[in-house]
Symmetry: C2
Subunit: 463 residues, 2 copies
């Protein structure tokens, strides 16, 4: 019996897809320039039991299993392995509970981030993690990749909000980790081990998240800089003064031009860099924002202006959110035949080294003869250098790849990490090994071996 | 060659203790009613290399290794195993770096919590975790047990502040985990796996912690309740209203009497329960504290009064900090011959179930004919029921043990955990197994096996 037949026999009708036209739609996430295979079957489970059944059947046939959420990832972690079974979790999309007193929510992994954020807001609560793809990405994917976002500079990343998980293991057993209490130290922290494990240790079937009281209205300001390094210096100065902006984002000239071309909104396209800052400290917000503005000016900003009202503040945030699609359009149009594309990178360095990172990226772009736009979460030292390449031109791709490697090397040399929030997936396996070293890799492999000895779950990702 | 001789030969003079009188001082932490063995040798390393050497020598002789910090733990995790090598980390007590811009500190594990807190305060920063033993416990011990404290209700526990670790593995290899950046998702979260692992997976030799800007001055209030359940209801109401007190502690009548007897300070000893609350929300603190006070009154408080000045607020905090020594003195004097003692428990339940937990503990005390005082971090649903026993009377000890088990069972029945912050150690192994179940225990054992196949490191703890 083929794996597809076995799955169809073991699962409810309509759960298993085998039509080649449909399978083709489950090959990859949004990562560019990494390989993707084609699954032999796609399982769309409606329950934990169906996930466990699919894993057991696949294990019985020795066929690898690749879990997928909304496939908005940027490192290829959700890419199909040739001949694998894809388990598409988007159908398990129910919010099971929201508890205002304990400030927790229990959700299935297919719940979209924005759907959860709105549902808890309706209860007067907040789920802070807000990755760029928040309107389409799922909580399960957020947990599997430990997703970040713009609020992390003050409110932290996904792992800070995960209290407990239900996970289907490689054996098909169902594991419950963590707790629903505010505190707990009962045994090893299995919850945080699964967070960020990119589907290589188990398949997340339920998530218990911690919620927070709603943030207060934020005041927003924009600072325009003559150099990216000056913007980086401003970020270090803001942190050094003990200020905690609720948002501190950087857009470089390339992104400003791309956004203005994508949707004209009167951005200062003559600027070399723009810092977008917000403060949500209630009655102190105006003072904090003024202090941030003063530090930007002291660091060399040409101009700093505060949003006069929520509409203007929202427009500035919208501009930031448009950076990714706008840059993709710019890349597309940079080369003939619609072959222009982006290598989207993700690197984080200690805040104090941000200016060096930004200068270094400029130098790398010049050295390798490629256009690189930089955007990102400046307050975290987490930047996304986006390298423009011509997919139809091997030489352009090679220059782009060399620039990518040079940026990774620079990030590590500055005491940083090869990925601040996008994860390792297929894109950064080599760089993970360089970052954590042989002892670290041995331990990572030992843990994978302990939980998935047959290497059944998302093989070839991370490790 | 004996293990002691081999260690002495491999390590600098004065590093290895073998004098029986000295060894006796390294047998146990502060946990009561759990067994402790006697080490054959105590190693007092000054460097990571010396820790690695000691582990290699012990491994070569097949002798177990038990790491110890200040031995202020309350679950026996630091207790010597008979014939083991104790590695006492208190001599590695240097603060290696404090970085105000990146808001990180790098410390050796023997640094005392209060010493780090004061050192970063001098730089205008804050290290929030504040376990009850903060003036004597070490950061290494805090990380190994994922220690909590009074600030956790708003600022979280130790693991939220650990960015990276240096760890000596069972092989003697040195592993570096994590990062010094604000964000990072490179591979499995080994850092959080070691946090709370109680020395069973590796020996922590360096810790990189995240720091925060200083908290603002807190305003403090006290609410006096006619029943502990009413105090529990107030806690649920405060959380349900979206308030975030920076402190929310409960003292029951037994502790109030014990503290007043230990150091008279005019506490309302006629109260059944006292809630100590603080707000550090700057210009909003007075409003927030007033809202907390109103919710306490609505929940049945007889009296609520705010501290009129910092001195009075400090006195109230001091009273809370005296709860543990005062209760120990009360226990000591409760039975003739200085044989009175405490079984100190630690249980956490969802906030909404706190009132049920408190009622249940009263019922358990009556049913088993033992005195139980309750104190703890009410805002986290994390309580410490302290059971008074006569160590010289097996029947009294048996009643105490039965009451302890009944409290554990109640905590789990209420959806809670068997340990909110003290850890598993030797005291709660049976309850860990009940809480996480067979699949969870299998995974925990698989991870221990992967990192310490010979069961060399702190054997018999947690698992």
């Amino acid at each position: 019996m083929t794996i597809a037949t076995a799955l169809a026999a073991a699962l409810p009708e309509g759960t298993v897809l085998t039509d080649p036209d449909l399978l083709a739609g489950y090959r990859r996430d949004e990562a560019d320039l990494v390989p993707a295979g084609t699954p032999v079957a796609v399982v769309r489970p409606r329950s934990t039991a169906e996930v466990a059944t699919a894993v057991r059947v696949a294990a019985g046939h020795g066929v690898p299993v690749v879990p997928q959420g909304a496939r908005t990832g940027l490192a290829g972690a959700a890419n199909a392995v040739e001949g694998c079974v894809v388990i598409a979790m988007t159908g398990m999309d129910r919010i099971l509970a929201i508890d205002p007193v304990n400030r927790t929510a229990v959700v299935q992994p297919g719940v979209v981030n924005a759907v959860l954020a709105k549902a808890v807001a309706a209860e007067g609560l907040r789920y802070p993690p807000d990755p760029g793809s928040w309107e389409s990405c799922t909580i399960g994917g957020n947990v599997a990749t430990n997703a970040g976002g713009m609020c992390c500079v003050k409110y932290g990343v996904t792992t800070e909000y995960v209290l407990g998980l239900e996970v289907v293991l490689a054996t098909g057993e169902v594991l419950r980790t963590g707790r629903r209490t505010a505190k707990g130290v009962a045994g090893y922290d299995l919850t945080r081990l699964f967070v960020g494990s990119e589907g290589t240790l188990g398949i997340i079937t339920e998530v218990t998240v911690a919620l927070r009281p709603p943030a207060e209205a934020a005041l927003t300001a924009v600072a325009v800089f003559p150099t990216t390094a000056a913007a980086g210096a401003a970020v270090a100065a803001i942190a050094g003064e003990g200020l905690s902006p609720s948002l501190l984002e950087l857009l470089d000239a390339t992104h400003l031009a791309a956004i203005e071309a994508y949707r004209p909104m009167g951005l200062r396209t003559d600027a070399r860099a723009l810092l977008l800052a917000a403060a949500d400290t209630g009655t102190r917000a105006a003072d904090d924002l003024a202090a941030i503005a003063a530090l930007c000016e002291r660091s060399g900003a040409d101009e700093v202006f505060a949003a006069t009202d929520v509409t203007e503040a929202a427009a500035l945030l919208e501009a930031r959110r448009l950076a990714h699609p706008a840059m993709e359009k710019l890349a597309l149009e940079s080369f003939p035949g619609g072959n222009g594309g982006l290598i989207i990178d993700d690197v984080a360095v200690p805040r104090a080294r941000l200016a060096e990172l930004l200068d270094g990226v400029d130098r790398i772009a010049a050295e390798h003869g490629v256009a690189i736009g930089v955007v990102g979460h400046a307050g975290d030292g987490n930047m996304h250098p986006n390298i423009v390449v011509d997919r139809a031109d091997p030489a352009s791709l090679e220059r782009g790849r060399r620039a990518f490697d040079a940026i990774m090397r620079l990030g590590l040399d500055l005491g940083g990490t090869c990925t601040g929030e996008h994860g390792v997936g297929l894109l950064k396996r080599e760089w993970l090994a360089r970052e954590v070293g042989p002892v670290g890799m041995r331990v990572q492999h030992a843990i994978k071996q302990a939980l998935d000895p047959a290497n059944l779950l998302n093989p070839g990702k991370i490790l």
